[in-house]
């Protein structure tokens, strides 16, 4: 068996059926061996899309996503995707070709020190210098990528190692004595958490992506119901808790729901689970829960106390910890104080609910999101790009289930949404997949229309066209005296014709009701479709200005007509 075959065999042993990649000079041996192999390969049209697709695959399925690129520019094109996965703790394994070992360091053609380049944005990396090491390195990569706090792992395989013969196929040659994630929560700490919960009069829960990654949504629901506490989420926590539930307040943070931002500081106990307290979630730190006790549950000890001072840290996997916490809370009934508090919050939630009732032309983006929400089933996967489109989707779309809202949170990568949708569709072929994009971000990755056509992936790409780089435009409007420097896109392409040139059907939408209609029929057709929705350049309000405290939002929901 040769090195390249060992890669394929090892990937199969890890349960991989599909990889996303793009060939090049230093991966020709691998691709030659792939030619006869029982392994699906999606040929994306840019390596960055391979990394995002692997990431989308991982987030939608919980399994490790795999992407592949050649050395040099192929590898550096993966960097943004790897960085995106790193910031959002998504388990991907990126395999890159490398120039032959004897040329490494010689500035050979298409040589790049991709391990060095990606060091700050990978959880770990390997470079097999001997084909015998390949099975062990792949096995170890999958273990490191998917356990503890997940993250990307890179394997850089020199060309001659892909071609070299293995003496023996063994996958136990690598030990990682320094890698021991803490999974089980300390029971003493968990009992202290129970005591804090029992003392609390105004508890709140803040759930992050850690809850989804740990598959702990049932345990979270049980906790919330037992202690009758309102639940907020971070952007990536969307789906950790059913947002149509009574107790769900929605997202917290810079573009959070008003009720979450307005009332979090009034709570006397914040139970934060699987969240890293990003600046976009907390606003200015010294006015974030100044008088609230904080319990922080996270699998990564480095996140505890990093941004927010914590009264009670619990290091462990969210599912494990919440199970234990639910057990020690057995028989607990919330006090009248707690029930009164939660009733008050529920009432405020109704009062501050985002209300949308526009029938304007050009369309208001909120209307478009609302129409999308009306058509999509709870099983449908929504991916977003980054910017206003992301915030409209996060704010106005209620996510009911985990792994159904996929978005680049930490790195905020424009051009993520569409290729991530491709990965999600490959992972979950039976679930409808819709990606919401702005016209700016979509143009960064529009070549992937070729991929969805080639593989008949019925991904629905919604392109909200306002001919601006809306989020920056909005900041310029609000904070930079309306000086719209380089944020007007001017001459955009005709997105319908663009899609059609790739053989993808497209619909231009300009009026209320049309989104709903086009989306319903697209879902029925089970074909890739682009919905080009022409919208007003609307601001994503309310929002927290940068540097403001969590409860200092500016702007109100813009209501043309009040529904109440």
């Amino acid at each position: 068996m040769r090195g390249g075959e060992a890669i394929i065999e090892s990937l199969k042993n890890m349960g991989v059926k599909t990889i996303f990649g793009y060939p090049g000079g230093q991966t020709i041996p691998f691709y030659d061996m792939l030619y006869d192999a029982d392994m699906d390969h999606i040929l994306v049209r840019h390596e960055q899309a391979a990394a995002h697709a692997a990431d989308g695959y991982a987030r939608a399925s919980g399994r490790v996503g795999v992407c592949l690129a050649t050395s040099g520019p192929g590898a550096t094109n993966l960097v943004t995707g790897i960085g995106t996965a790193y910031m959002d703790s998504s388990p991907i394994v990126a395999i890159t070709g490398q120039v032959p070992t004897h040329l490494i360091g010689n500035d050979a053609f298409q040589e790049a020190d991709i391990i060095g380049i990606t060091m700050p944005i990978t959880k770990h990396s390997y470079q097999p210098k001997d084909p015998d090491l390949i099975p062990s390195m792949i096995k170890s990569s999958f273990e490191i990528a998917s356990t503890g706090r997940p993250g990307p792992v890179l394997i850089d395989v020199p060309k001659e190692v892909q071609e070299g013969e293995l003496t023996e196929f063994r996958d136990d040659l690598i030990q990682t004595p320094g890698y021991n994630p803490t999974v089980k929560g300390n029971i003493k700490q968990i009992k202290k958490a129970r005591d804090l919960i029992k003392e609390a009069k105004k508890p709140m829960i803040l759930a992050g992506a850690g809850v989804i990654i740990a598959n702990a949504c049932c345990e979270l629901k049980k906790l919330a119901k037992t202690i009758n506490a309102p639940v907020m989420t971070s952007l990536l926590g969307k789906g950790a808790f059913d947002e149509t539930d009574d107790l769900a307040l929605g997202m917290l943070g810079m573009h959070g729901r008003k009720v979450s931002n307005d009332y979090i500081n009034e709570s006397d106990l914040l139970i934060a689970i699987g969240i890293r307290f990003s600046d976009r979630t907390t606003g200015r730190l010294d006015s974030f829960v100044p008088d609230t006790k904080v319990i922080h549950i996270d699998i990564d000890p480095a996140e505890i106390g990093k941004n927010v001072d914590v009264d009670l840290p619990i290091v462990g996997d969210a599912k494990n910890v919440l199970k234990s916490l639910n057990k020690v809370l057995d028989g607990y009934n919330p006090s009248d104080d707690v029930n009164n508090w939660t009733d008050m919050i529920k009432a405020k939630k109704q009062e501050l609910m985002p209300r949308v009732s526009y029938d304007d032309v050009p369309l208001k983006p909120q209307t478009v999101i609302k129409e999308i929400a009306e058509v999509l089933t709870p099983e449908s996967i929504l991916t977003t790009d980054v910017g206003q489109n992301q915030m409209w989707a996060a704010h106005f779309f209620d996510t009911q289930k985990p792994r159904k809202f996929i978005s680049s949170g930490g790195l905020g990568t424009m051009g993520f949404g569409f290729p991530a949708a491709i990965g999600a569709k490959v992972a979950c072929p039976d679930d409808p997949v819709v990606s919401i994009n702005g016209d700016g971000g979509f143009l960064m990755v529009c070549q992937e229309l070729a991929t969805v056509r080639e593989y008949d992936l019925p991904v629905i790409a919604v392109v909200l066209e306002n001919r601006t780089l809306g989020m920056v435009y909005q900041w310029q409007s609000l904070l930079y005296n309306n000086r719209h420097s380089q944020t007007l896109l001017g001459n955009s392409p005709d997105f319908v014709k663009l899609a059609e040139s790739f053989g993808v059907n497209a619909v231009r939408i300009t009026k209320p009701g049309e989104t709903k209609e086009a989306l319903s029929s697209a879902m029925k057709d089970n074909e890739p479709v682009l919905l080009n929705v022409v919208i007003d350049s609307e601001e994503a309000l309310p929002m927290l200005p940068p540097g403001a405290g969590i409860n200092e939002m500016i702007g109100e929901y813009k209501l043309e007509k009040d529904v109440i």
């Binding site: 391990i115 700050p120 320094g178 990564d300 480095a302 106390g305």
Partner: protein, 161 residues
């Protein structure tokens, strides 16, 4: 000793790129490494890194936790309070005249330093000690004119069993 000065002893896997990973992490997270020394340890395939760093309590906690996250890092210990700390310093001093030569050699004796190389114009001296001792010696001979200094950075080990 300054209160925010810490010595961390770290056992790491002896693999290419580990030093880069550790140093890169410090840089990326905005911590200043005062010195870092690496060498083989008592375990085959593992190296010991001794890192001295300036950080407040919260910073030190972050450093330790972030170090722990590196897969190649096996064990970390803050040995600031318990450690014997040593550094090796080579210093080349100008010797303007015979009187100066005698004085410098006398200082070297007091500091238990060794003379490694002699020319008609210079002396090369090897000195081992903690940072304070080395700084003291350097300031003593500074007046004669220092041509070159090479210091290894701190290595350290906990006292006791």
């Amino acid at each position: 000793m300054e209160s925010n000065y810490h010595v961390i002893s770290t056992l790491v896997e002896d693999k290419p790129g580990v030093l880069q990973k550790v140093a890169g992490m410090f840089n990326r997270r905005g911590f200043n490494i005062d010195s870092i020394t690496v060498g083989s340890s008592e375990v085959e395939g593992q190296s010991r890194m001794v890192i001295s760093v300036h950080a407040d309590e919260k910073g030190l906690e972050q450093v330790t936790k972030q170090l722990n996250k590196l897969v190649d890092v096996i064990k970390i210990k803050d040995i600031t309070k318990t450690a014997v700390k040593r550094e090796l310093c080579l210093v080349k001093v100008s010797v303007p005249n015979a009187k100066a030569r005698a004085e410098i050699m006398q200082y070297s004796n007091i500091f238990r330093a060794h003379v490694l190389d002699v020319t008609d114009q210079t002396l090369m001296i090897e000195l081992t000690g903690d940072k304070k001792k080395i700084n003291a010696f350097i300031s003593l001979v500074e007046g004669y004119g220092i041509k070159r200094i090479a210091r290894t950075g701190l290595t350290a080990m906990s006292r006791g069993v």
